[in-house]
Symmetry: C2
Subunit: 121 residues, 2 copies
DNA sequence: CGCATACTGAACCATATGGTTCAGTGTCTA
DNA sequence: TAGACACTGAACCATATGGTTCAGTATGCG
């Protein structure tokens, strides 16, 4: 029934809805980092940062690998194409919708003009 | 301190993280609708739909107007430009990052080659 | 070995989310 | 004026989120 459902989009948009997580993504876009690095940079406990990284990882936006004591986080492999595509499609709908509203407004104006003439006849 | 904060992005990405709300946006991109229309289409109580519309409205993605008994919902005025811009910037970071990783890999290969020669000398 | 480091998991807390029901209020319309 | 209709708000519920502390476990290093 609800064919519009899309768990991937749910997860990635939810992941992006937090400023810390967006910051982590930007950071990892510049260089890999450990949980400790990220926790310090974002002024948060290790446990707290671990949770954020978990959310990003579950959304496929980050991959991590533990070597020795250290878990290294990097971006990848999703480039948010699907999310871009959704926004792009919405933008098109939006444009079309506003064109249509413009037309409706014009049509109303035209009719008013005609009605005006009729009334003067 | 946390200059990366952005309540607008928080709200819109959070609004987009629910399939029903994405559906409502697409629907409103095609035509205006009342709360009742939307509730029926998405198989939900009026109260439930009202909440979703509230979230979209607070995020600036939908505007509503009540005339008589009926509250009419339409899209606007935000075209999600800021959100597109964020994703676009991330894509660029992502590209740059992967280019860099490629270079690192090449550099490693080159060094291995050199080391191999050295060892044979 | 022994200590410091780096993470991890459980438990807790306050608040938000996604949904419901129920009891209204206000607006058409016959 | 009576009933139907459209919405609204409060209250409730289960679960998730964003954070913490505390008590581990595993690893590296002198």
């Amino acid at each position: 029934m609800v064919q519009y459902a899309n768990a991937g989009l749910d997860a990635s948009f939810a992941a992006l809805s937090d400023a810390t997580r967006r910051g982590v993504l930007e950071q990892l876009g510049r260089a890999e980092a450990s949980i400790t690095d990220l926790a310090e940079k974002f002024n948060m406990t290790l446990t707290g940062m671990k949770k954020h990284v978990g959310v990003l990882e579950r959304a496929g936006l980050v991959i991590t690998e533990k070597v020795g004591r250290v878990r290294t986080c990097k971006i990848g492999p999703r480039q948010l194409e699907e999310e871009m595509a959704w926004l792009e499609r919405y933008r098109q709908l939006w444009d079309a919708r506003f064109d249509e509203l413009d037309k409706v407004v014009e049509e109303l104006k035209r009719k008013e003009l005609v009605d005006g003439r009729k009334q003067r006849e």
